[in-house]
Structure formats: C-alpha cells, structure tokens
Symmetry: C2
Subunit: 460 residues, 2 copies
Amino acid sequence: MLKPSVLRELKSIVGPANCLASPEELLVYSYDATRQESLPGAVARPRTAREISEILRLANRERLPIVPRGAGTGMSGGSIPARDGIVLSLERMNDILEVDDENFIAVVEPGVITGDLQREVESRGLFYPPDPASRAFCTIGGNVAECAGGLRAVKYGVTKDYVLGLEVVLPTGEIVNTGGRTVKSVAGYDLTKLIVGSEGTLGVVTKIIVKLLPLPESVRTLAAYFNDVKSAAIASSDIMAAGIIPRALEFIDQAALRAVEGYLKEDLSRGAGAMLIVETDGPPDAATREADRSAGIMTRAGAVRVVRAGSDAERELLWKARQSISPALYALKPKKVNEDIVVPRSRIADILREIGDVAQRHGLLIVNFGHAGDGNIHTNIMIDDADLPRADAAVREIFTATLRLGGSITGEHGVGLTKAAYLPLETGPDAIAAMKRIKQALDPNNILNPGKIFLEQQCI
Amino acid sequence: MLKPSVLRELKSIVGPANCLASPEELLVYSYDATRQESLPGAVARPRTAREISEILRLANRERLPIVPRGAGTGMSGGSIPARDGIVLSLERMNDILEVDDENFIAVVEPGVITGDLQREVESRGLFYPPDPASRAFCTIGGNVAECAGGLRAVKYGVTKDYVLGLEVVLPTGEIVNTGGRTVKSVAGYDLTKLIVGSEGTLGVVTKIIVKLLPLPESVRTLAAYFNDVKSAAIASSDIMAAGIIPRALEFIDQAALRAVEGYLKEDLSRGAGAMLIVETDGPPDAATREADRSAGIMTRAGAVRVVRAGSDAERELLWKARQSISPALYALKPKKVNEDIVVPRSRIADILREIGDVAQRHGLLIVNFGHAGDGNIHTNIMIDDADLPRADAAVREIFTATLRLGGSITGEHGVGLTKAAYLPLETGPDAIAAMKRIKQALDPNNILNPGKIFLEQQCI
C-alpha cells in the first residue's frame, strides 16, 4: 500500500484517470510472460518525460521502487512490479513522431508497438529489422530495455544496433538526450548503448531515434527436413561457414515439430527429426543464388527433403509453424521454463547433445528451437508444478555447459528476475561489482527497477 | 619527474628494459597526430594484464596519472601524456592470439596493427571491415579506445560494431572479462560498448574479441567528377536515398583535389570542382548492378565524367588520391586544424555551404573531404601560427552550425584534449554529469587518462 499522500501526489502529476490503484486494475499490471507475479501499490500512466521526471523525484524522496513497463511481454521478469512500488506504464506514450526517409531515421515514443513501426516504415520502402517473436504486441520501449533480438539478428543484428539516440529520464529525474540523429558519433561516453539493454534499471526511455535500412528487394524462404537434430545443426553451421549470411536461419527439434504439427493440424515434416528454415534477402539474383547454395549445403549435410516456398502462402505456412511453437508447447505440459542460451555457432550440435543428456538425467522433457544462425537456442523445459526442483537443477546444468562451450546464459531475454541468481556463473565478481558501481552512481537510492539483474539489490 | 622509489617499483613490475625515463626516450612518446605535446615522467611497456594491474594499483596509491597509448596516431590528443605521469605503451602486447574461421571471430592483443589483422583474416577468406585511414600504423587497441571509423563505416559500421568482448584492467586494478565469443548476449550491463570509445579513461584493454564477416566476393570502384561540391553532395545523398549502400562513398572538394593532384603529379580531375569515389561490393552481379545504378544517379545529378576502375591499378590510383589528401594538404599551409564533424546525410550540402561562409568570414582556407555516405566530413582549416585565434573562432562556428543541422562534433576522432572544451555544446550538462558520475564510480582517484573528454578533470 502506498501512503495516501503519495497517491495524491501521483494523481496530481499524471491526472486521476492515469493513476490506478484498485485491486482489479493492479492485477492487470502484476505479471509478464514469465510465471512471476507481484502486486504493485499503484500504476501511473504518464504522457510526458516531464511527468516521469516528477514521479522519479517523488520516488527518490519517498524511497519508492519504480518499475517501468511496456507491454509486459518480457521473458525474464524485467517488468514484474516491486511489491507496493509504482508501475510506470509507458502505454500512452505511443506516437511515431517522425519517419525521415532521406536520412533513414525514425523517432518514436517507447509505447509504440514494434510491429506497427515496422509496417509504417515498410510502407515507405524502409526497414526496421529487429523482430522479436512478440512484435505484434511488444513495445519498442521494452525492446530497448531488454535489447531484444529476434529471427533476423543473424544478418541484421539486435535492437542496440539500431538505436542512434535516446531521450531518457535518469533515476534522479534529469531529462537527458544521448546520441543523436547521425550513424556515427563519439562525443563522450556511449550512454545510449549503456542504457539499451539495462532492463529499465538506469533510466526511463521516453524517446528513441532508430536507424532504418532500405527494404530488401526480395526474400527467398526454404525449409529443410532432417532425420536428426545433429545433422540440422551441422547444416546450419556449414551454411554460415560457406560465407552465406541468411536473414534468418531457424531450427526446430523433433519434439517442437510434433507439437506444432498437432497444433496446426498440418503434417509438414512427414515424421522428420528436425527442421531448418532458411531465408535469404537482397537483390533477386543474389537472394536466389544464396538460397540455392543453402539448399545444396543442406542436402549434402543430410537433409532428406528441401522445400522452397513458391508463394506468399507457402512462406506464411512455414513461418506460422515457427511462430506457433510457443503456444503449441503447452499441449505437452502445463508449464515451461524458457531459457535463451547462446553458444558459438559451431557448438550448437554439442550443446544440443548436452541438453539431451541433462533431460535424460533428470527425466525431463526439454524442447529446443531457435536462431541457429547466431547460436541462440530457446530451450524449453516442459513441466508440471511437481517438476520444478528438477527443472531448476537442469537449468543450472544447461547454463554450466553453455558457459563451458564459450556461450552466454541469455542472448535476448535479459537477466531480470529469473536469471539474476545465475549471472555470477557467467560474469565474474569484479565485473558485477563494476556494473553495480555504475548503478549506484546513476541511481543512488536504488529506486529504479530494484531487484532486477543483480540478486543482492532486493526490492525495498 | 617521478619519485625515484616509484620509478624503481615500475622497473620491478615491467623489467628495467621496459621502463623508459631518459629525455630522448620520453620525447618519442610525448606527442600524437595532433599538434599537442607533453612530456611524461616515465614510459612503461608492459607485456601482460597482470603487470598493468600492478601499475594501476601503484598509480592509485601514488595518485599518478596513467595514459594508455597505442601507436600515437590519434587525432584528438587522447594519448597525449599527462605531465610527469606514466605512459602505458601497449606496443609489446601485439599478438593475434586466435582466428576462429568456423565462428568468424578473432582474439587479439591491443598492440596489433589494424592492417596486419586485416591481412591475416583476409588470407583466410574473412573480413574485418573497420578501416581508419591510419590502418597501416594504428593499433586495434587505439581503435577500440577511440571507436575508430573509416571509409567502410557507411555499409559496415565502426569499431564498436565488431567488438564482442574484452579483457580489460579497470582503473582500480581488477582484471575483468566483458562480453564474450557470441554475437548475442544480454547478460548484465554492456561494459564492452561502454569501454569501446571511452578514450582510455575507463579501463586498459588487454585483449579484444572481434567479430569477422565473410570476405565480400567482389568490389567495384567508380570515380565521378562534378563542377561544384554542391552537386557532388546531392549526388551522394541521392545514391543512399535510392536504397544503395555502397561500401565506401567518399567526397573530395576542389581545394583538396588540387592539392592531391599537385602532390601526386597526376591530373585526375581535369579541373573539376569536386570528386566522389563510390565502391560497391558483394556477389559480382549485385556489386556491378549497384555500381551501374550509382553511376546513373551521379550522371543525373550533374557529374561531368564518371570513370570505372577497370583494373586493380586504376582502383589503387583512385584510392591513392583519397589517401594522399592529408600529406598533400601540408603543401598549402604549414599547419592544419583537423575536425571530423557529422551531419545527417541530407544536410551535407548545407554544412558545406556554411563552412564556406565561415571560411570567407575569417579569411581562412578550409578544405573538406570525407565520408559522404555517413555524413562524416573531415574539415581542415589550413593555417600558419598567426591564424590560430581565427581558426579557433571558425571551429566554434562550424561546430555550432553542425549541431544546428542535427549533427555531432566528432564522428570518429573522439573528444580527447582538442574537443573537450566543445563537448558541452553538444551534450547537455546533465548528460555530462552522468558521464562523470560513471567515471568517478570506476576511477575514484581519477588516475586513468585524466583531463581527456571532460574539461574540468585537470591533469594531476
């Protein structure tokens, strides 16, 4: 519960209609795409950076935790409310302020839905490549907070690679502009790239300048089916080693394939043990040539069948299969523990074998799919509630194997709450101490998204 | 002068042969590519991160400024010694430790010459794109400190875009690893991208993991000559607006052309008023098609002549012209004030007009060339000593115009000493305060490269 005086002050900042405190309203903002949940004391829906600045100054005075929130689609609990703190929902700050088609730049507010921005710029022949799977619902502000990746990261990079500048409210309330409208600038420390991916702990982003590209002229989509996941992993590694950089290179293992085929009621794979989806883009000749070469490489690596999407409908069916995995998996078990490890590309077959061993050792069903092109694997431990302790043990073993193979425990979901206990496995104590000194320097009262990333910073 | 006890301790850390203190030796390390100069108290040439850690601990105890140094080719004074401090020369840490051609990664020490790394990876069919003009001499450690750009940044980005991970000695002596060997990772704050471009003020980089690309299959090079710089600027903007991303898109103004032609004793331009060099790469068909389209766009924008480099020798001549500008300019005047402003691409013609006005107002010769593709212009005020006060006034006016057009005062050279006084023009006081809080958090005694970037942090 917030003090009545604080609630009154909050209402005077954002207006009574944008300050929510009833139990039903709070419930709507109490969870995200993880299984975590926590009730805030109030939800504020500001419209301007100025209002956010006032809220942060209030929070510093009252030592109240503030948790910024986009659409709540995060996969690591980054927007889970601090108990009795204030959720700062950016949902009303949702304007596309500018699309500059001479300089390939867009300026947007954080509450803009990523898919809406993509459609808008594509209608002008431009391209915003980062494409988290949740792009139809997630906000670009959330993407910036988590440094979201997606399917096209293998060729085009992640959110951070497209953010040129920010307007951000620092934890202590100052409204600052970082970076700018040019693709190059080295004027002082790179606050932009420090804040992107800092999971809402170093500032509240209120305006985002993104870089755009020309929309690729053409796209070619292939699917290849393999008897086993090892051949698929080797094929994907071979494609990249041949110097081809597809715009997407996705793999789906047997359990995920079966789940999707049941869900879609389509027999895509004729009983195959693994699937790769390869998509190339660029000028038509080049895109076709890269697709042809990829098909040849996959056949040589043991693909039993390679299918080219000849029409938009065929292409959509292939991507529908990929995009249906998450909902389809719930037919297998009521809950999933969803991790997004990354390994160097050449180690994908190794990590999948190790994950198989972990699954067998603990008697767990583990389903794998993801971005083979950049080594980023979504590994899903499917469980009932009773399986949770074994799942936790399995997660630790998978992370340990990932790090042994030169990888990272999170490629695009962030640390948040769910991986805070594991961060020290990857990052040494001195590097974590340096990160915490930066947090302390910018947020001396630890009011902004406390308890995220670092275990020791408990919610107040 | 260093205390004799400190000099003894320094010798015991790096060995007597690698601790230099004679006036002749110190002189060699007293300057860089700017006109600045300052004598250090000693030069240490460590071989390991461990030795650097010991030196930094000594420096904290004794409150001694430490200035890391690569090859001293910097353009903003970032490696100018602090008076009576210690220069930390990374010249002996110059091994290419690993080239992983399965995962497109190289691991290098900071003292490796950038051009040597490029040759090594190209011999294996791989590509390290960042190409500062000084790549034959500069070190990758210096590139990392300054976030060096170069000619290919328009298509391939800058140094920061290729650094996946670092081993770095923090100012307080801890040796930490940031990032890693994968192209994606969001595990905690992005210390890697904070340290790249921090101009040696936040840590001493001792190992660098860089991302590589497949070497492009083919390259096409064109030169186009225009009657005036405005048509050239519009042509370059038109190329990008047509959705072509050349690997290089360079412009050279009339004064630079005349200087180069005199220097090379070649009449390249037949008296033209400006030149563009366009280079495309990729699969042969695509590279040719983009070169053809660029040629057409430049002709329509008023090019009086477009020349295709038909052989390697012709290509080399074109690039030799571009690369000879810096030495050639010294035939015009004994000194130059060299700035590297950036504007949004569509404003290049505007900023060149404004620079022309500034030159006229102050009676100065200002020569412009640079990276038209990303709006990064090298503007050189050619002077005698007597012109210096007018040059300083001109710089301030050029920076003011640049910022008014939505640009940045430095695209790739860094702030260092020479632009520290101007940083507040671009970056508001609250953002600078945030940067300084980060500096203070990581370097509480301000021993690492003090006096760079921020005016108020004077050398001790």
